[in-house]
Symmetry: C2
Subunit: 207 residues, 2 copies
DNA sequence: GTGATATTATGACAAGGTGTCATATAACAC
DNA sequence: GTGTTATATGACACCTTGTCATAATATCAC
């Protein structure tokens, strides 16, 4: 999380820094990114950087955070539109999500970011925000045989599916296959189907 | 993967290096680990390290690889013992797996390792081995409504579950809850149940 | 305005890490 | 032995990082 000082900066400087970060984290994954580069790009002195953020991970997490907010909102909206049906809603959401994060402007950043799974629950800051943002995903639990208290688990599962499918997209793209986006989408839908209907034959115990 | 030179080393030196790596990767996750430390511990000159491995990631991957082999074997054995029932087999396997990787000797290493998901399909070397080792998991597909061609996907899913459950163990342990292992195990079993039977109510289309 | 106080800005610096390369050494073929 | 190839070694150039003493600005009381 940025230190308070960051928010006191004039808008222009804030934007310059964010843009520089976005650029550097598009070049390489966060572990290889260098603060030296970022401050050079943003044209701020090195010392200042540490006035605003703890380190590059903190900075990176903030950039991701800014986007995550929007995604959760988008996701929630679609769920509402689908009357709480988490499956059809997530399927549609993933397609739109995939379109956005693979757009010219963002592709490199998200490739670098998601391959080191941002949603790793370890980093408390992301975690916290994660929770608050999604606690009420507007899922209709009457359609499900699980309890609402398992909300958190379900959410985590769906995100995990999306990450897997997105990686599948990246692999497909690298291999130059025909329509990597469609393939990834189908991959995601398969996982959704498994989760919805189970993969065990016959003796279902669902009511 | 180690360069051929590594395998020409006398056993003692190989072991010294592996042990040093294990120690350093127990201290910190691979990204923070330092080759300087490793060579100091192993008492080999810095230049030699690069004769054996490309970099620390290569080295780390090799250490993980050594263990993975054994795990896959263990997993496969249990599946066979359970007549190909992937669900009960995986449940049992996870318990044993959890016991092993949380034992005194290995706990720190695996904590550092799994929090940066080793099974990230990105690193080709791990990936390749991954496949070959598990291609025939001895799963009885007659119990499932999915095709054997989806083997790879199913495997990946199960591994993902285990990683999640293991992280749950780490969180529980950090928070000092009562029986983190049992909790993680139950967590895993819940995910297995979801995958087996699905979470959607009523209109299952299973035969 | 003035002086006191708190906040922010700056960049040089110590500490430490990385991968390479020229050179030394050993191993082997014949 | 000589010639050839494989391995060992550690100094080195280069690059990062986070800190800290110092300078510059705000902010505020009156």
């Amino acid at each position: 999380m940025p230190k308070p000082t960051f928010f006191n900066l004039d808008q222009a400087k804030q934007q310059r820094l964010l843009a520089a970060g976005f650029q550097e984290f598009s070049r390489v994954p966060v572990h290889e990114a260098s603060i030296s580069n970022i401050v050079k790009l943003a044209k701020i002195p090195r010392g200042s950087f540490y006035q605003y953020f703890t380190d590059k991970f903190d900075f990176h997490a903030y950039l991701v955070h800014l986007y995550k907010q929007r995604w959760y909102q988008m996701w929630r909206q679609i769920i509402v539109a689908k009357n709480g049906d988490i499956f059809t809603a997530s399927s549609q959401f993933f397609k739109e999500f995939l379109d956005k994060i693979t757009s010219q402007k963002h592709a490199a950043f998200w490739k670098n970011t998601f391959n080191i799974d941002v949603f790793q629950e370890e980093r408390q800051y992301l975690m916290q925000n994660h929770q608050s943002a999604i606690d009420d995903l507007m899922i209709n639990y009457q359609l499900l045989r699980i309890k609402k208290s398992q909300n958190e688990l379900l959410k985590r599962q769906l995100i995990s599916f999306m990450m897997q499918a997105f990686r599948q997209y990246l692999i497909g793209q690298k291999q130059g296959i025909d329509n990597p986006k469609r393939v990834a989408s189908e991959y995601f839908d398969t996982l959704l189907d498994w989760l919805a209907n189970g993969i065990k034959k016959g003796d279902q115990t669902n009511d």
